[in-house]
Structures are given as structure tokens and as C-alpha cells.
């Protein structure tokens, strides 16, 4: 209820200030621009009681005073960046002035969006990093500032790139590494650092090969270690489909890779054709002839 009252009051004051701009006087004295959170004072002239309002985005401050006094505002009292109206009532018409509050220069927080969190190796411009730079009061710092982006993996030199913020935002695009692994993606502005994890995963399997041998009246089939075209091991859990086609029927098994290989057993049928595939990648075929 109080908040509602304050907003109505603020609205009225802004409207009044706009209406009175033409009759603005110079009895109010204060810097026209300040940094968010810095202390400052407003001096007045004349005599008699008055009320000083400072109305801005998300903030309304009211002070009762005697004309001729100087009103001080402490550290952090005005903390939201934006355009403020300063209104001194008690005389007719009210005196108005304007105040600009800018974000502090020192970065204090970063909102860092790193996308995607998981991508295949060797993708050009596959990783995107976007950093929003804020001051201690969570005001977006609009003045250009340098943000450095580092993509690093254990045992390898980091890929570094620096970008300047435009309207508080800096961004880069980076290639994913040719080797699979966990990379740390870091954004730094001033003394502030934010880290994200980017998982670089193997691409499509490059060569799928299997071998088969007899095993107790059945056929044991096993793939070679499955690698992508960059030599990265395809992750365990990847499904490999074995299919055995024989006269009048077939057998299929979907097997997950474990320790790099997929293996299973199939019923032994002379003349059976055994094929293997994973996703949309086909492997070799084996014709099973008399236990070979």
C-alpha cells in the first residue's frame, strides 16, 4: 500500500516537474551527474520550510529542510542508474532540476552466458560467450570496458580473446577444440571472473568395424574401439545396433558401448549376414559360414 502511494506520488511529482520546467530556478545546486552510490549534497537558497524530492527509476527520496540548508546524501543512498527529477516544494511554483546517475566504473558482477554447454569437437564458431558487466548495485555499466574471454583445457594453452562492451555487453565466438574434453570458459572484467564449463564431445563415429567368432554355439560379435574422424573415442553408452539376417528371420540387438567397444552374442545360423550400425553410420558386414 505504501509502495503504491509512493509510486502515485512519484508520478505526480514527475508530472509537476515537467510542467514547471519553464519556471526552473537556480536556487538548487548539485552536480548534474553522479556515479551510483557516491555521496553528494544538494544546496538550497532562500528561507522557510521546504520539501526536497528526488525521483528516479526504482527510487524516491523525500527530505524536509529549511531553505538555505545543504542536504547530504550518503554512500550508496542513490544507487540505481538513470535519469532523476529533483523537486523542491514549499514555494510556488515548485523548483525543479534534473540529475543523471550513471553506473559505477568499477565492474563488480558479470552475467556470463556461455552456449552451448555441450558441442561436438572442431566446430567453427561453435561456442558463444556473452558477458553483461554490472557495478556493485547491479547497474549495467554502459561505458565501454574490456572483457577477456579464455577457453582453456587441462594441459593445453588457453584460447584468449578480448572484446569491448557495447552498451554493457561484450561477446565472442570461439571454435571448439579438435580433441574432446571438458573446457573451462572464463570471462573477466576488472577483478571479476565468471567460469562456465563447456563439454566438447566426439563427433559422429568415423569407422565402424566389427569382428565375429564362434562362442559356445552362438556368434560373439564385437566392434573395434569406436572413434570419430578426429580420433576421439566415442563415449560409452552410445548405442550400436547389430543385425543378423538368416533364412526366414533375423535377430537384432541394440548394445551400448562399454569401455569403447560394443559386444554381444547372436544365435549361430549358417549363411547368416551380420551387419552393424550406430545412428546413421553403417559399419562392415560379415557372412557367417560354418563357424567362421
Amino acid at each position: 500500500m505504501k509502495a503504491h502511494y509512493q509510486s502515485v506520488l512519484a508520478g505526480c511529482l514527475i508530472a509537476a516537474a515537467a510542467a514547471c520546467t519553464a519556471s526552473q530556478t537556480n536556487s538548487l545546486q548539485f552536480p548534474s551527474t553522479i556515479e551510483a552510490g557516491t555521496p553528494f549534497s544538494v544546496s538550497t537558497t532562500g528561507s522557510g520550510g521546504a520539501v526536497l524530492y528526488i525521483v528516479g527509476p526504482g527510487q524516491v527520496i523525500r527530505r524536509e529542510l529549511h531553505r538555505g540548508e545543504t542536504v547530504a546524501f550518503g554512500q550508496g543512498e542513490i544507487h540505481s542508474a538513470g535519469h532523476y527529477a529533483v523537486v523542491l516544494t514549499g514555494s510556488s511554483p515548485a523548483e525543479t532540476a534534473e540529475l543523471d546517475v550513471t553506473a559505477a566504473q568499477q565492474p563488480s558482477a558479470l552475467s556470463f552466458l556461455a552456449k552451448p554447454s555441450r558441442l561436438p569437437v572442431d566446430e567453427h564458431d561453435g561456442i558463444s560467450g556473452v558477458a553483461y558487466v554490472f557495478d556493485a548495485f547491479r547497474n549495467l555499466i554502459l561505458k565501454p570496458a574490456d572483457v577477456s574471454f579464455d577457453l582453456s583445457e587441462a594441459g593445453k594453452p588457453a584460447v584468449a580473446q578480448t572484446a569491448q562492451t557495447h552498451n554493457g555487453v561484450a561477446w565472442v565466438r570461439l571454435d571448439s577444440a579438435p580433441k574432446a574434453g571438458i573446457a573451462q570458459f572464463e570471462a573477466r572484467a576488472g577483478n571479476v571472473t565468471e567460469k562456465r564449463i563447456v563439454q566438447q564431445v566426439p563427433g559422429e563415429p568415423c569407422q565402424l568395424r566389427m569382428n565375429a567368432h564362434g562362442a559356445g554355439g552362438r556368434i560373439a560379435v564385437q566392434t573395434d574401439p569406436l572413434l570419430d574422424c578426429r580420433g576421439n573415442a566415442v563415449p560409452d553408452g552410445t548405442i550400436v545396433s547389430f543385425k543378423e539376417t538368416f533364412s526366414g528371420g533375423e535377430t537384432t540387438v541394440d548394445v551400448p558401448l562399454k569401455r569403447g567397444v560394443a559386444q554381444t552374442t547372436l544365435p549361430a545360423h549358417d549363411g547368416a549376414l551380420i551387419s552393424v550400425a550406430t545412428g546413421v553410420v553403417m559399419g562392415n558386414e560379415i557372412r557367417w559360414q560354418g563357424g567362421r
Binding site: A114, S117, V234, T238, T251, T252, P256, T264, G279
Partner: protein
């Protein structure tokens, strides 16, 4: 007005008469279905009455009475009889209710008879039929059923070493900054999709591939659009899909739009969705000896073999049927009603619509499995 009242009177009177007749002279299977089986507790003076009484006892799960009425109860225990009907391990059968039955006399003489009884069990995923050939013999003036017991295999106590592979997921928390990244949803792709006009409606058939390196919980929603761009209907693949896909796994899907004409459809908007899910790479189920029999009752048969060490309580079998151009002509499924035990083959048979069977050139069968403690 008067004519309407007369008509209403006659409809009301006819309904009353029909209800009264049904209550006074019910057909036996209706009595069983209605649950007032007490009227069937009569001496089994004929093969038909003996079968009806036994089925009623099974429906009421009056196992003791059912077992005691059998002529061959010396061949198995009551516990084995109950396991035959409800499953030795927790399975779809354990939670099924006998919904109805039909029987066909196969042979009859003065002292012996044979009947084929088809028990219709209802479950949360549909119905399944349990067909048994019953032999009946007359002792004095009473008929008794010899139950064709199916002894479910028991897995002997043992330790089966398995290298389990499992994924767990940590999602972002509510206290994280808005810029904090969340784990990426798995990337999935529809690799095939086309609509067919069938059964007075439109059916979408297709396949979905998990092209990521993590498991995905997937679903596919589709919207049929008319020429003016307006949506005609929206449906999703409910259980005609395998919802959990491991990396590089492909599932078929079928989405039915009953009552929609294909001619009215201009385009289809597909919306596959995926989310990360904690999953296990096991159990591995082989689908062995797949065969398709032709008319008059086209059926895809085979055996499921659980190659892992854990009991699969419910196995879902999905079959994709292709024509000789490699285009999908139908997707159909079946749930196994018995638990799938390690190393123990379990047969399945999926009926294929007769008009489609003639176009089938090849097929692909996949399974998904559910265990009592989790699903995969």
C-alpha cells in the same frame, strides 16, 4: 407434442423391458464381467459350466477354489497355478484384471471334452489375450478342467557381474544467477516422417534419432495444418514411441489423428522435444528369431532375451515396418505380459494389419524396458 410423448413412452418402456430381460436371463460371460458370479457357483454338470465356473473363480482371484476344482492339481502346486496366472515376478500380468473371456468347443464326447478359452486381461496399457486349450473330463455327473500349466522359469540364485553405465544430471538451482548456464538438452532429430491415410483418419509415421552423447527423454507432437494455415488437430505419440533414447538410438513413432481427412491437410508442423534424463545403459535386450508370418493372420513373432543381470518387469516391443523402398508403412507395438528374466527367452507376437502385411519388405524391432524401481 402428443406424438413425441408417445415415442418417449415407448422408448422408456422398451428400455425397461430390455433391462429386466438382461437382469433375469443374463448371458454367462456378462455375469462374469458384471462380477455377480454367485449365480455361476453351480455344479459343473457340463463342460461349459465347468469352464465358466473356473473362469469366474479366476476373475474373483479365488485361487483356492479354482485350484481345488482342477482335475490335474496333482501335477503342480497352488502357488505355481497362481504364478502362472499372475506372474512369478512382478509384471504387467500382476496388475491385470480379467475383463472377459470367450471359449470355443474343440472336441466333445460323453466323458471328455476340449475347449479353447481366450482370457481377456485388461491393464493400464491395454488388453492382452491369454489363450489356453483346456481338457475336461467327467467324473460322475461333474466335469473338471485340467489346467495347462505354464511353469514360469525361476532364475537360480547367482551373482551376475555387470559393468553398469549410468548418467546422472545436475541441473541449475533456483539461487543461480540468470546468466548461469543450465545443462544443454539433448539434440534429437526426426530422420523420417510421412503421413498416411488410414482407418478414417490420418496417421503420421516416422523415426527419431538421438544424435547427442547423453540420454534423452523424448516425445513428438504434431499439428496438422489446413491450407489457410489454421491448425486442424494436435496429437502426440503417446506410447507408440520409445521415450528414453540412449546416444545414437533411433525410435519409431506413430501419431494418430482419428477422423481427419488427409486431403484436408496442407502441411504438418512437427515438434520433437527432448530433455536430459538420468538413465542406465542396461538392460540390453536382444530380439531374436524375428519372423513374419503371412495371411490370414499376419504376425511378427520373435523372442526377447534379456542379456543383463536384472529382471525386466515390463518390456515394450515396438516394430517398424518398411516397404521395399525403405519407407515406413506402419508402426505397431506390444507389451510383454510376463517379466523378462536374465538369459531366459520370452516369445512375443505382434499382429500386423492384413492390408499392410502385403507391403512389408523388412522390419525393425526395438524394445524399451521398465523395472519396478525405475524405468528406462
Amino acid at each position: 407434442m402428443t406424438g413425441g410423448r408417445i415415442l418417449a413412452f415407448f422408448i422408456g418402456a422398451a428400455t425397461f423391458v430390455a433391462v429386466a430381460l438382461g437382469a433375469l436371463f443374463p448371458i454367462p460371460s456378462a455375469v462374469v464381467s458384471a462380477g455377480s458370479g454367485t449365480s455361476l457357483l453351480r455344479p459343473p454338470s457340463s463342460p461349459q459350466v465347468a469352464v465358466e465356473t473356473l473362469v469366474d473363480q479366476i476373475r474373483r482371484r479365488d485361487w483356492d477354489a479354482a485350484y481345488q476344482s482342477l482335475s490335474n492339481r496333482g501335477e503342480f502346486t497352488e502357488e505355481q497355478f497362481v504364478r502362472d496366472l499372475t506372474g512369478a515376478y512382478s509384471s504387467l500380468r500382476s496388475y491385470a484384471a480379467l475383463d472377459g473371456f470367450d471359449f470355443t468347443p474343440l472336441h466333445a464326447s460323453a466323458d471328455a471334452a476340449e475347449m479353447r478359452v481366450s482370457l481377456r486381461w485388461s491393464t493400464v496399457v491395454g488388453t492382452f489375450q491369454d489363450v489356453r486349450n483346456l481338457r475336461l473330463t467327467r467324473t460322475g455327473d461333474q466335469w473338471h478342467v485340467a489346467w495347462p500349466i505354464v511353469l514360469e522359469p525361476r532364475v537360480p540364485p547367482q551373482v551376475i557381474p555387470v559393468n553398469y553405465l549410468r548418467w546422472d544430471v545436475i541441473y541449475r538451482g533456483p539461487e543461480d544467477d540468470w546468466g548461469a548456464q543450465d545443462v544443454e538438452s539433448p539434440h534429437v532429430r526426426i530422420v523420417d516422417m510421412h503421413p498416411v491415410d488410414r482407418g478414417g483418419g490420418v496417421t503420421l509415421l516416422g523415426e527419431l534419432l538421438n544424435e547427442d552423447v547423453v540420454p534423452a527423454f523424448v516425445s513428438v507432437k504434431a499439428t496438422l495444418l489446413a491450407r489457410d494455415g489454421k491448425a486442424i488437430a494436435t496429437e502426440d505419440a503417446f506410447d507408440e514411441i520409445s521415450h528414453v533414447l540412449l546416444p545414437k538410438q533411433v525410435t519409431p513413432f506413430r501419431i494418430d489423428f482419428p477422423g481427419v481427412r488427409l486431403a484436408a491437410v496442407d502441411s504438418v508442423r512437427m515438434n520433437p522435444s527432448s530433455s536430459l534424463v538420468a538413465a542406465s545403459a542396461d538392460p540390453v535386450i536382444a530380439v531374436e528369431d524375428q519372423k513374419m508370418t503371412g495371411l490370414p493372420q499376419p504376425t511378427l513373432t520373435g523372442q526377447l532375451e534379456n542379456q543383463s543381470g536384472q529382471v525386466v518387469n515390463i518390456a515394450h516391443v515396438l516394430a517398424t515396418l518398411y516397404d521395399n523402398n525403405g519407407q515406413i508403412v506402419w508402426v505397431t507395438d506390444q507389451y510383454a505380459n510376463r517379466a523378462l528374466l536374465p538369459g531366459t527367452p520370452l516369445p512375443f507376437a505382434i499382429g500386423i494389419p492384413a492390408d499392410i502385411a502385403s507391403r512389408v519388405s523388412r522390419y525393425r524391432v526395438v524394445t524399451s524396458s521398465y523395472t519396478a524401481s525405475r524405468f528406462q
